[in-house]
Every structure is written in structure tokens, then in C-alpha cells.
Amino acid sequence: MNSKEVAIIGGGVAGISAAVALTDIGFMVHIIERDVQLGGHATSFACKATDKCSKCLVCVADELVLKASQHPKIRVLTGSEVMSFSGKPGDFELRISQAGGEESLFKESVLKIGAIVIATGFMPFNAEEKKEYGYGKYKNVITASDFERAIRANGAISRPTDGSAPEKITFFQCVGSRDESIGKGYCSKVCCSYALKLSKLVKSEIPESDITIFYMDVQPTGKDFLKLRESCEEMGIKFVRNLPSKIYGYADSDFMRVNNLNNNTGEVVQDEFDLIVLSVGMSPQNDVKFLANTFKVDLDEHNFFKGLKQSTNLSNTPGIFLAGACQGPKDIEESMAHGRAAAAEVVKMLREQ
């Protein structure tokens, strides 16, 4: 018998979008979230509006989480993880463990469901792997995720060493993306867009700041991306097509040195910055292999879940669906659409059964 219940693994924007779409169609949904709360990465990010909305969609993610957390047809199981699974499409059994509140004991339970949507999202690339950038060693080298969190929490932009406003800021693109040497031979899609929007935000909050973006290629996203790039250039944000290979720190200084190529003269120049933001890419979650084994679904060469050609929401195992960045890098907008698209695939499968 077909169950009208669906389990969604991962409570980020993709999972929640799938969940909301499914409940709208009449399903009951269980969201299995490892963390203590819903939302995933998107809800830790900062709004990047200047006087105008930058269309970063962080606020949309916030609203979505709020909606899902109170939804009568969505059961949110925070602090829970998948243990094993069995059955056939339309009639699965999913065994999960959940941290049990006060005594912090794990409690196991079994969900009877018709379909499973994997929406475990991504991990920001661990910048410590790029030793030459000194992340973790130099306080004023931070990742874009750190930067977003700090802006959201403090509502102001400051450098970690002394909390004052930074003067010279740079963004390093493609940290953990398009880099075969560390096994990341793919583009993370989202970093250019967020770096441009963040740099605009910094420039509008600290107009006297000097901002440089070191990049390989600018990757566009969405409508009017060219306008965004041009508006950055108009504000005086510099674009340098060259990724410095190393960051040199000084003792007792807020500043760091970077060698790079001047695109106009072809000379190597030295530059100093007091805030270096590493635009880290998206890496697969650390438990993807476990999930892949459990659900017998394929991973691609970069360890993202492999979607089928006719629909990237479909995995190679019937009844197991994919949504969001666990299938490959996606921004918030694309993740939400992908989540809802997954809901459509679930409906299709359960009808055919």
C-alpha cells in the first residue's frame, strides 16, 4: 500500500521547499535534520541589500524556515539521523535515531513512508586545506561563511583582530572550487555572485574601503548579473584576473601581504590587506558515502549525489529523490526550485505505483 508520507533528509532550503510543496499537495512530511534547528546554511547568511535588495534570497529562506517549523503537516525531527532503510518504493521503512531531549539519550524510531528525498545540502569547503592561505593562522583571513555569519550577528562589518572597520579588503575566488589539485574539479556556481554582493555591501557600509576581487572567471547567476558586475565596478571595486598563490602574515600587524599580477602592466606587485575573505566553494557533506550506501544511490566523481539525465531530482534508485545542493552546487533560488521540482517527481512516482 502506498504511504502518503514522505521523509526528507535534511532541513535546509531545498528540503523545506520540497516539504512545503508536498504538504500543499496533501502529503505528510517528516524532516530529518541532524542539527538542533531547521534552516541549514542559508539561515546563517546575511542580507546583502544596500539601499536596494540584492536578491540574495536570505530573507526568503528565513521565512520559509519559519513557515515549515510551524506547519501542522510537517514533522520536524531535529537532532536526528538516518540509521537504515528497507522496503520498496511506496512502502519504505526508515529507521532513525533522535537525540532525546533532557537526558540526551538517543531514541530510535521507525518511519513508514512512501518516498525519501535526500536534501542534505553541502559543506562549505574547509579553508584550512589550502594551507598557503593561512586560514586559522591569520585572524584577518576569514571565509565568506564566517563573514556572512558575523554580519548577520553584529549587523556591522569589522576585522577580527581588533573589531574596527577594515580598510583594504579582498576576496579570493575559487577557494575549494575549480582546483583539481585538491580534488575539487568543479565550479561551485554561487561564490562569484555572493562575493560581488558582499563586496557591494561592504563598499556601501564603508565607502572609504578599498576592495579587490581576485578571480579566474566571473560566473554569472540570474537576471541582470551584468548590471551587478557593472555596479561593482562603478562603485570602485577592483577586479583582478589572477589568484594569488600565498598570503604572507606579519607579526603584530592587522595587515597581510599578497603578491599578484597587475593585469594592465603585467608586473608582479605587492599589496597589503587587513581583511581577506576566502570565497569558499561547496563541498559534499561528510556523510554522503554512508547515505549513498544506505540508499544504494550513486555519487558522481566529486561525491555529489548523481541525478539522472531526464531529471536531476531522480536518483538511480526508484523512490529515492534528490533535492538541492547535495546533487551539485546550487544557490538558494535554484535549491528552492529544485526542492519543489523534487516534490513533483515524488507525486509522479506515487501515482505510477
Binding site: 510543496a21 572567471d217 603585467g266 501515482r351
Partner: protein, 541 residues
């Protein structure tokens, strides 16, 4: 002060004893009791306990309306509302107070005063809240899809999975749209077309176009013309009319002749296995440099030319836009095959002479060096333009186009495929040129959205939409012109403006624009708002 307030209950709870330390809840309660309200102070110290307390409270007391004061923000509102629904109370007859607001006050006395003020305000607001009626609305469960390209086909197929009937209108004589011409998509497109043609719930009408659309979400009337003149009643409309490719003639020299072709021409040549010359130069980003599709095509074609004909292949672009699935891999593969890539910031110069194209640009790695390439064929990316009929179509749908003429989807708070009118959607290349996976994904997402709200033939709608008092309405048309969702129409018989509840999104813009105060938003009446001004801005209590 005597008022009929005994049916309004005030439910106050503390969370983790946060409030007790800064204000006196019992004082708040006694003050409100003094004003004639029934007040209940929950001893619960945790939200979950407070919830069960609240449910018990609802059972024990015959209340009509409730004010819930605590220190949870909006994150718990829906949960309380669900409880109210369970015991048969209106979820609209409740108001919430976030007492955290009072916590910031330094003195206990002031904090308590502020709390009293906040709760009184909320009680006054809900006291004035009138009943929210409901209305049964019939929905037409058919969907009109405009455009038989891959976006339209995928939307139509997915809609049928949700149990809806689809009418698909295609302007040309065949299905498939632009994707049919793309070599590696042919198989996919063919199988989707087959599935569509075999689907009984879909009626495909070729060589036709929409001429007029009347009505509103749930009940549109569409006039379609082609070989026949047809009229359909549908519940939603999906625009998937795609886009058009145009060779950027003005960017090229007139003397280019057959030396310069577009990516689409090359695609045709490749699929017909026609010869490609020995030296090929790809030059992209001359136009539409913010689209990644041209890079995607470039990589595939450069590799194909290299592998099939062993030509010397040079690619010039502003940025190598590899932000699509497998993009970087494809780039690496092309490089390994011997395709050369050069990036430019300043647009390269092109010169045509004696069957040879000369392209020159500055080497960005060594800016003093000028690179000059001679080739036998120049391949450029086409400019992607909105479909020819977009303007007329936008007019008949009463929706907007963006500055480039693509269908607008300007509401960041909704799916990008939503239009400003409920029930009308834009999918695929007609709103933003994109690649196949993105198109398929948004087509399915949109279909899921549509069948969730068209899944029933009849729905009961809570009338929280704006209400027009037909006695006061002078038909000045201001509301009709200012409604962002085109949810207000003229009721010719009654001689008044009329809100379509299903299309209204309860923003209240019409209320604030109406010059004769004829419109009210039931959950935010004028009296409620003005009532808040009088009390609190004056002295507290």
C-alpha cells in the same frame, strides 16, 4: 470603563522564567482584569508546557477571542493557531504579544507598565476584529500552457502527474522548440515529446496563439486563434514561449560574409556532418556576456570540432562560464584535447580579408603582447532575444516585461516563475535564458505549485482579502490601477469596484490609495490601526 470584553481572554506565559525577573506578571494580569478582560497566568516555564496549559485553558473557559502574551515571537504563532482551530475557535480571533519588548526596560515598574500597554493594545486590536467569513470558490482544473518547447512540455507532463488536464498551445507546426536542434539533447526531447503526445490528459494545438485572456486565477477564459478559433476555460496559465537567437550583425563587420557564423549554424553543420575548416576561432561574450549558455555550447562545439576534424581551435571569451553541471570537467577535457583558450577584458578586434578572419587582442598575462589569430572560420554566440510575440502576449496577459523584454519575475519573495498575477507563471527561456537542467527543474517546480492549488474542484477561502463597500465606492478606478496583482475589477452591474478574493494577496495597498475610505482589509482595519495610535502614543495605561 465598561465594555463587552468578558469574552476576550488574556493568556500570559513565561518562558524559562525570563519575564519574572524583570516584570510583574500578576500586576499585568490584575490591571487587565480591571479593564474587564479575563486573564490567565500560566505557571509554565517552558513553551511545551505552556502549550498544554493553553489547550486546557481553552477547554475550561468559554472564550471567543484570545490574546497570547509570552516571549516567543512569530515562530510559535501558527502552533497556537492550530490549537485554536482544534477547539473550534477562529484562528483570526487571536493576537500575539511578544513581551520580550518590555524586557529591555531598566526598571521593573516601567517594564510592567510597558507589558500592560502592549497587552492592552493587543486586546483592543482583537476586540475590534470582526469575523472572517469564508467563501466557496470553484476552480477550473485545466491549465493552459503556451509554448511547446522543452519548458512547456515538461510543465505539461508534470501537471498531468498531478491529475490536471492541460491544453498546450504551440505557435509553430511542431513541438520541441529550440532544444530540438541541439545535438546531445535530441534524444531527451524526443522521448519527452513522445510521452506528451501519448498523454491523454494533454491536448496539443499546433500553429496557434493566445489572443486574449479574461478573468482571474481559477477561472481564466482564453481565446486561442490558429487554424480554428477556440475558447478555453482554465484555472492557470503557464507561459513557456522561449526565446529567439539573433546573429549580432552590428558587432561583426559587414564584410564577414560566410566567414562568420553563429553557434546555431555550427550546430547544424555538425549534425549534418558537414566539413569544418582547418582553423576555427570561437569568439563569445561579444553580446549577452552574462549568460553561461554560450560557454556551455562553446565547450561542446570546440571539443567536437577538435575531435572530429582535428582543426586548430582557438576560443576567445571574456569569462569562461563553467557554472553548470560538468562545466569545469568539459573545460579540462577541451584543454587536454588541445583547444586553446584566451580571455579578454577589452573586446577583440576582428578583420575579414581574403577568406581569412584576423582576430587580435591583448594577452592578459603579458599585457604588452598583442595576440593575433588567423582562422578560416569565426564562430560567435548569438544574441538571445525575447520571443517575437512577447510584447503582445504580455499585454493580453496584463503582465510586465523586464528591461530586456523578457517576462518579468520581479518578486524575490516568491518562486522566480511567479508573475505578479496569481495563476500566471513564466517558465524557461521566456523569462531567463538558461540551460536544460535549470529549465526542467523550474518547470516541475512550477507544475507542483499549480497542482497544489488546483488540486480541488472547490475550495473554501477565508475572506481575509480586501473588502470594498459598494455604497461608498465612487468607481474612481484608483484601486484597480494600483493593485499590484490586478485583483480588482469593475462590477458593471453593481457599479462598484470588486475584489477577486482568490487573486487578492491582502497587501492593503488599495486601502491606503482609496480616496473615499471605501476599502477595508479585514485583519487590519482603519479603526484597529488608529486605535493603536490613540492609546499608546499618549500616556500608558
Amino acid at each position: 470603563m465598561k465594555r463587552e470584553v468578558s469574552k476576550i481572554g488574556i493568556f500570559i506565559y513565561d518562558c524559562e522564567s525570563k519575564l519574572k525577573n524583570v516584570l510583574s506578571i500578576s500586576e499585568v494580569c490584575s490591571k487587565l482584569e480591571g479593564l474587564g478582560f479575563v486573564c490567565f497566568e500560566s505557571p509554565a516555564s517552558h513553551f511545551n508546557e505552556a502549550m498544554s496549559d493553553f489547550e486546557k485553558y481553552l477547554k475550561d473557559n468559554e472564550m471567543l477571542k484570545v490574546v497570547i502574551a509570552g516571549c516567543d515571537s512569530r515562530s510559535k504563532e501558527q502552533i497556537f493557531k492550530n490549537s485554536l482551530k482544534k477547539v473550534g475557535l477562529s484562528p483570526y480571533w487571536v493576537n500575539f504579544v511578544n513581551l520580550n519588548e518590555a524586557i529591555g526596560y531598566k526598571e521593573k515598574k516601567k517594564a510592567t507598565e510597558k507589558a500592560i500597554n502592549l497587552v492592552t493594545q493587543a486586546a483592543k486590536w482583537i476586540e475590534m476584529q470582526e469575523i472572517i467569513g469564508t467563501q466557496k470558490v470553484l476552480l477550473n482544473q485545466k491549465v493552459l500552457v503556451l509554448g511547446g518547447g522543452i519548458a512547456g512540455i515538461e510543465t505539461a507532463l508534470t501537471l498531468t502527474e498531478g491529475g490536471l488536464d492541460v491544453i498546450l498551445i504551440e505557435e509553430t507546426s511542431h513541438l520541441g522548440g529550440g532544444a530540438v536542434a541541439v545535438e546531445n539533447l535530441k534524444g531527451l526531447v524526443k522521448s519527452k515529446i513522445e510521452a506528451l503526445v501519448n498523454e491523454k490528459k494533454v491536448r496539443v494545438i499546433n500553429s496557434s496563439h493566445l489572443v486574449d485572456l479574461d478573468g482571474h486565477v481559477g477561472r481564466f477564459t482564453a481565446r486561442v486563434e490558429g487554424e480554428q478559433k477556440l475558447i478555453f476555460e482554465v484555472g492557470a496559465v503557464v507561459v513557456a514561449t522561449g526565446n529567439e537567437l539573433i546573429l549580432p550583425i552590428q558587432e561583426l563587420d559587414e564584410s564577414s560574409g560566410s566567414l562568420a557564423i553563429g553557434q546555431k549554424d555550427l550546430e547544424n553543420r555538425l549534425s549534418l556532418s558537414k566539413d569544418v575548416p582547418q582553423r576555427v576561432c570561437f569568439l563569445i561574450d561579444l553580446v549577452d556576456e552574462d549568460l553561461k549558455i554560450s560557454t556551455q555550447v562553446l565547450l561542446k562545439q570546440a571539443l567536437a570540432v577538435k575531435e572530429k576534424f582535428g582543426s586548430d581551435v582557438i576560443c576567445l571569451c571574456r569569462d569562461l562560464k563553467v557554472s553548470f553541471d560538468g562545466g569545469e570537467k568539459l573545460y579540462e577535457k577541451a584543454q587536454e584535447a588541445g583547444v586553446l583558450f584566451f580571455k579578454y577584458t577589452k573586446k577583440p578586434k576582428i578583420a575579414f580579408s581574403d577568406e581569412i578572419v584576423k582576430t587580435s587582442l591583448i594577452n592578459e598575462d603579458y599585457p604588452h603582447e598583442k595576440l593575433v589569430f588567423e582562422s578560416d572560420l569565426l564562430v560567435v554566440n548569438e544574441k538571445i532575444m525575447p520571443g517575437r510575440g512577447s510584447n503582445a502576449l504580455a499585454e493580453s496577459l496584463s503582465v510586465d516585461l523586464d528591461s530586456k523584454g523578457f517576462f518579468q519575475s520581479d518578486n524575490v519573495k516568491l518562486l522566480p516563475t511567479f508573475s505578479s498575477r496569481r495563476g500566471i507563471f513564466f517558465v524557461g527561456g521566456c523569462r531567463l535564458p538558461q540551460n536544460i537542467n535549470e529549465t526542467l527543474s523550474e518547470a516541475r517546480a512550477t507544475a507542483a505549485e499549480i497542482f497544489s492549488f488546483l488540486s480541488k474542484e472547490e475550495i473554501e477561502l477565508d475572506l481575509t482579502s480586501a473588502k470594498i463597500d459598494s455604497d461608498k465606492c465612487i468607481l474612481c478606478l484608483t484601486c484597480i490601477r494600483t493593485c499590484p496583482h490586478r485583483a480588482i475589477v469593475v462590477d458593471q452591474e453593481e457599479e462598484t469596484a470588486k475584489v477577486i478574493p482568490l487573486a487578492c494577496q491582502s497587501c492593503g495597498i488599495c486601502v491606503s490609495e482609496c480616496p473615499v475610505v471605501a476599502i477595508e482589509l479585514p485583519l487590519y482595519t482603519n479603526a484597529q490601526i488608529i486605535g493603536q495610535l490613540n492609546d499608546v502614543v499618549g500616556e500608558a495605561g
